[in-house]
């Protein structure tokens, strides 16, 4: 049997079509998210600028609209400097791992009914596993650069991520209990069947813990100690330049977008909204995404950085007990048939 016959047998033809559809979905999702990352930087500089009574970028294009593209071109052509005493294989791998962990979480997010790259039964666990992998990028970068500042940044980050990951996982347990599933699509469908249309109202405590832990996981202000510029220059990526630096930068924004998308899927009713928007089934996911991303910027412009011991005691003594209390409360209310 020749090669063409194998390809055009109905069974294998089906497999090829499925593969092609999956590849197409991956290309679309990655393309759209990368576009969002590019303009998320612009949106951040503009919104923080206006909050501080500045204009933000204005020079490149009308109202600075071409600024992210100019930044990208600049980073792309910059010299790639690697410290002489760096541990080279690990130094090369670190930014790739950071970006891989963020990107692969996108695979389980449902953008609208029926559109998800991998509809797996352990969706939520997969996301948690990938977020714990993300810490490796930071720690490896910090260690392999062979510099005091990067190393301190990497150590701070590992302690922070390990502590807040527990709260992050526990805050989602309430959602798992209410939905009775770990599949992201099933979780959204369970919310649509629920009277309020979202789990935000019975799970308000879980949502609060999740958002605080998400800020810590993505190293955003007020939890940006790993990259505190006034103490550590830039933290774990001090020694990175050019494209490798850009990869870390992109990974941070992807992390933010992924955390927002998880919050939308688990607490805010996914692709559903107060009214239907015709022809654009994914509209509500993106509207909610912009609101949550704006929340990240808003808090960055408002709240000063935590002190390190405050950060640790807040995570262990407040967030984790709160998340545990939420689990007990959800179980109690569920057995009493209140929710």
């Amino acid at each position: 049997m020749n090669f063409l016959e194998i390809i055009f047998r109905p069974a294998s033809f089906d497999v090829i079509v499925q593969l092609a559809i999956m590849v197409l979905k991956v290309v679309v999702v990655v393309g759209v998210i990368m576009l969002h990352v590019t303009y998320a930087t612009y949106f951040e500089r503009k919104s923080i600028g206006h909050m501080q009574v500045r204009l933000g970028p204005m020079r490149t294009g009308p109202h600075g609209l071409l600024q992210p593209i100019a930044d990208f071109v600049k980073l792309f052509f910059k010299e790639d400097i690697i410290p002489a005493a760096a541990d080279k294989p690990i130094f090369y791998m670190a930014p790739v791992i950071s970006i891989f962990a963020g990107m692969s979480s996108l695979a389980v997010i449902p953008f609208f009914n029926g559109f998800v790259i991998a509809n797996i039964n352990i969706g939520l666990l997969f996301v948690l596993a990938m977020s714990s992998l993300g810490a490796y990028g930071i720690v490896m970068a910090g260690w392999s650069s062979n510099s005091k500042y990067s190393f301190l940044g990497g150590l701070r980050s590992s302690a922070q991520v390990i502590s807040y990951e527990i709260a992050l996982g526990l805050s989602l347990v309430g959602v798992m209990m209410m939905a009775g599933s770990l599949n992201m699509t099933e979780i959204v469908k369970a919310q649509l069947a629920y009277p309020t249309g979202m789990f935000l109202f019975p799970q308000i405590l879980g949502f609060f813990v999740f958002m605080v832990a998400a800020f810590a996981e993505t190293n955003r202000t007020p939890f940006d100690l790993p990259e505190a510029e006034s103490e550590l220059v830039a933290g774990y990526f001090v020694e990175y330049s050019g494209m490798r630096f850009a990869l870390f930068y992109v990974a941070e924004y992807i992390g933010m977008i992924v955390m927002s998308l998880i919050a939308i899927t688990c607490f805010l009713g996914g692709w559903d909204g107060p009214f239907q928007i015709p022809y654009v089934p994914f509209a509500w996911v993106f509207i909610k995404l912009y609101i949550l991303i704006f929340l990240f910027y808003w808090i960055r412009a408002t709240v000063p950085r935590f002190r390190y011991d405050h950060l640790m005691s807040f995570g262990w003594k407040i967030l984790i007990p709160l998340a545990l209390f939420n689990v007990v409360l959800t179980g109690l209310l569920k057995t009493l048939n209140v929710i």
């Binding site: 690990i90 039964n121 352990i122 666990l125 948690l128 490796y136 490896m140 260690w143 599933s181 770990l182």
Partner: protein, 168 residues
């Protein structure tokens, strides 16, 4: 297809484990170990044990991170790289391991396959792996499960007590 995947995974797990124990630099060894655990998780996935695969990554990613911190805080990597590759007792260790391997090879064809339980591949697919494990753990095996968690609790409390004493 499954055979190719299994062949690749078992080869990669063996190769990565050997690579991990032969590195002089402990950080490299620790990082190779996490790659090995990822392959192990993929193997669980190929066997239909999706919950186990996810938990494997979540638990070991955290555990190896702590190991990494131990390496960085306790060992001097420049000194480690100058020293011998293996501890002095390695011939004894290798002969013990070889003896164990021979024993395993002898008994492999005498192992009895267990009784077929109620959980076939089809049942697990229908009920989802997580639910199946959860139900069993909280009904049939609730006593061993609670004993295991009690032991872990004792270990946690013990660790805290030991650390407190040292602080004085």
């Amino acid at each position: 297809m499954n055979e190719i995947l299994f062949g690749y995974l078992s080869f990669a797990i063996l190769a990565l484990s050997i690579a991990a124990i032969t590195r002089k630099n402990p950080v490299h060894a620790v990082l190779l170990m996490i790659v090995m655990f990822f392959h192990l998780a993929t193997m669980y996935l190929a066997l239909g044990a999706e919950f186990l695969a996810a938990v494997q990554i979540m638990v070991y990613a955290g555990a190896i991170m702590v190991l990494f911190l131990f390496v960085v805080l306790v060992l001097n990597i420049r000194e480690e790289e100058k020293g011998e590759r293996f501890a002095s007792g390695w011939p004894l260790g290798i002969s013990l391991a070889a003896g164990l391997l021979i024993l395993i090879l002898i008994i492999t064809d005498k192992v009895l396959t267990g009784r077929q339980g109620q959980f076939t591949q089809a049942v697990i697919l229908q009920e989802t792996h997580t639910k199946a494990i959860g139900k069993l753990l909280y009904t049939q095996y609730v006593f061993p499960f609670e004993v295991a968690s009690l032991i872990l609790l004792v270990a946690i409390v013990g660790a805290i007590v030991l650390a407190k004493k040292r602080l004085g």
